[in-house]
């Protein structure tokens, strides 16, 4: 089957990203308009808009399985791309698409279910002798059971939500006496976030690296991996800067972990693009964590070093095509780094920063890729996550990729809101980061200040504030503009005074 039309059941930068490949493949795209973001930037990229603005449902638009499926049917759309988040890893949604004869760009509902459940995923991995952390054999039914296991494997241990992701429903336990409190917190958070209170327990690796492998499988039993992504720069389990390859891996370890990732995919007859996540400890032991059955936010770093369009592979594999690449065709060239630009106030504890973006100015160069969901006059609303754009920069080696990224960030201007740009600069200029010597505790332990300031910035800010204050004061004093004196006055003040009259 050849896909001719595609409904993108998502918003923001990923929707725009998908339209780019769809356009290249001659596929007509449909996007969903909501009342929460009626003038969103992504809507200018899709060929047709399906209007969900009248939605009075309690279910958020991008989670409304039946409405999305019905819209696809009504408009005779061949396939749905779920992007990431929302319904991307919902086995129920995948099932409904299958029942209605709509092709979902992703793996089968059965695989989404198995891999979405960390407990089942770990059982599959253990059958294929993939290294796993010690822990409970399945979900826990009470804190007592947790204590027995924890006492046996030793502290610290971690509670994790079986249905978890994004760091929610996780609690670290340092000693036996904390078990009950943490069990309660983990289950209640899991219940709220995933509608499933199930948690399991496993040995907690202090300060590991987070390394993930991109794999792609087709419907004919062919698999490749496209190298790893280093995602250790995290704050509260949220990734902020990713890169490919990882400074922690050599060819031997890459091959071992890559083979393990492919074995996980084989074990479930996986097709589509997927990501196998591992923890890597200080002694370079790796442990299988989970598999994400969707395209990931950080997929562009892999695309930049491999030259492969992952969305294109996803679509072709979904159509039943065979992979036209073999493992030997995958060569990682140079280095790529992704900085997530979130609408957040880094100085205010990374709290969401909502508001109107008056102006965006992007850096431009052939080694820069920007996947952005915003434009001048875009609004950051409280309804969705805070990521507004991604800056992906290539360099011939890691050092170059870092310096190119810093240059790019210096030319990336957003007016109207605060973003994580000053944070990203601070990370990229950090000595330990530059040396590749970091793990998931990096932000907490190695960063004295979470945002970068240039030497003169504070002085310039002081001058601007003083200037404005003094100008207002002078205006009050004179009450009219003295054009004689005006000659010595900056045009900026004069302009401001004229406007205030």
């Amino acid at each position: 089957m050849k896909i001719k039309s595609l409904l993108i059941a998502n918003r923001g930068e990923i929707t725009i990203r998908i339209t780019r490949t769809a356009g290249k493949l001659g596929i007509k795209t449909y996007g969903i308009k909501t009342s929460k973001e009626p003038n969103a930037h992504y809507l200018t990229f899709v060929d047709e808009i399906i209007d969900f603005s009248d939605s009075t449902n309690d279910i958020p638009e991008f989670l409304d399985v039946e409405r999305i499926v019905n819209s696809a049917k009504k408009n005779k759309i061949d396939a749905i791309h779920p992007g990431y988040g929302f319904l991307a890893e919902s086995p129920f949604f995948a099932q409904r698409c299958e029942e209605e004869g709509i092709l979902l760009i992703g793996p089968s509902p059965q695989v989404i279910y198995k891999m979405g459940n960390k407990t089942i995923a770990k059982q599959i991995a253990s059958r294929y002798h993939i290294p796993l952390l010690k822990g409970s054999q399945g979900n826990l039914s009470n804190p007592k059971e947790a204590r027995v296991i924890a006492d046996k494997i030793g502290y610290p241990v971690i509670f994790k939500a079986a249905a978890g992701g994004g760091g929610r429903g996780m609690r670290i336990v340092e000693k036996s006496s904390q078990i009950e409190k943490m069990y309660r917190l983990a289950t209640s958070e899991a219940e709220k976030a995933f509608n499933d209170p199930s948690v399991f327990i496993e040995k907690y690796v202090r300060n590991p690296r987070h390394i993930e492998f991109q794999i792609v499988g087709d419907k004919h039993g062919n698999y490749i991996h496209l190298g790893e992504r280093e995602c250790s720069v995290q704050r509260k389990h949220q990734k902020l800067i990713e890169e490919s390859p990882s400074p922690a891996l050599n060819e031997t370890l890459r091959k071992k972990m890559g083979d393990a990732a492919i074995n996980i995919a084989k074990a479930t007859n996986y097709f589509s693009a997927g990501t196998v996540e591992f923890l890597l400890d200080d002694d370079k032991n790796y442990y299988f964590m989970e598999m994400n059955t969707r395209i990931q936010v950080e997929h562009p770093v892999t695309e930049m070093v491999t030259g492969v369009d992952l969305i294109e592979l996803q679509i072709k594999v979904a159509q039943g095509e065979r992979l036209n690449l073999e493992q030997k065709d995958i060569i990682l060239k140079g280095w790529a780094i992704e900085c997530r630009i979130n609408a957040e106030d880094v100085q205010g504890g990374f709290s969401p920063y909502l508001g109107l973006i008056d102006k965006v100015q992007y850096p431009r160069s052939k080694n820069i890729r920007i996947d952005s969901g915003i434009a001048d006059s875009s609004v950051v609303t409280p309804y969705y996550d805070s990521m507004i754009a991604k800056l992906i920069v290539h360099g011939e080696n890691r050092e170059k990729a870092i310096s190119n990224s810093i240059n790019a960030l210096n030319k990336f201007w957003i007016r109207g809101i605060k973003t994580t740009i000053p944070f990203c600069k601070a990370v990229l200029m950090n000595k330990k980061f530059k040396n590749g010597d970091f793990n998931t505790s990096f932000i907490e332990k190695e960063m004295d200040q979470l945002y970068h300031q240039d030497k003169d910035d504070e002085m310039l800010a002081a001058y601007l504030a003083t200037f404005d204050f003094a100008a207002a004061l002078e205006t009050d004093r004179t009450t009219h503009i003295d054009f004689e004196q005006g000659k010595n006055i900056s045009p900026w003040v004069l302009n401001k005074r004229l406007r205030s009259l």
Binding site: D454, A462, A470, A471
Partner: protein, 177 residues
């Protein structure tokens, strides 16, 4: 009434940062601009859309005054915000005098670091807490965050109840050191 000033006398302002760093700005509008006694060349201008830029050492900065009320300013430059209080030499002297005479506060107010919902309160009035001890749990963006004591002391008052929705900087707990 028109106040006359002699052309020779300098106008002087002091910008005091939140961290108490002082910038003495002399003659802000003239060619004789000095900041902390150093002669400096800075240009400020607006573009046709009303966006303000600073030109300094051949570098252009997109800058913004995000908030001002009386003499308090918040300025954004390179994505980082800076808070200043602008004083004249006379108001600065008065402020210093007042600060010196103010006794050190014994009360610590714990505010919400972000908007969210109070899902659990872990202390009661009268509880003795150590610095860093969890006081309550605030759920924001589906994450549960522990709000901890900024200093050791006794809980005097709790201003919220379970399931209350709070805004950023709402006072949650009062601790007496």
């Amino acid at each position: 009434m028109k106040l006359s000033r002699s052309k020779e006398s300098d106008t002087e302002y002091i910008a005091v940062s939140a961290r108490d760093k002082k910038y003495k700005v002399v003659n802000p509008f003239s060619e004789d601009l000095k900041i902390n006694s150093k002669k400096i060349d800075i240009k400020i201008f607006d573009d046709e859309n009303g966006f303000t830029y600073i030109l300094y050492k051949r570098k252009k900065y997109l800058v913004e005054i995000v908030e001002k009320s009386q003499n308090k300013y918040t300025v954004l430059i390179n994505g980082v915000s800076y808070n200043f209080t602008i004083e004249t030499p006379i108001s600065y002297k008065r402020k210093k005098y007042l600060e010196k005479n103010k006794s050190k506060s014994k009360v610590e107010l714990v505010g919400a670091p972000m908007p969210g919902k109070i899902v659990e309160i872990l202390v009661d009035p009268g509880t003795k807490v150590k610095e860093g001890e969890a006081l309550l749990i605030l759920e924001a963006m589906k994450m549960q965050n522990e709000i901890t004591a900024p200093a050791a002391g006794n809980i005097k008052k709790i201003f919220v109840r379970q399931n209350d929705i709070v805004n950023k900087e709402d006072v949650l707990v009062e601790i007496v050191k």
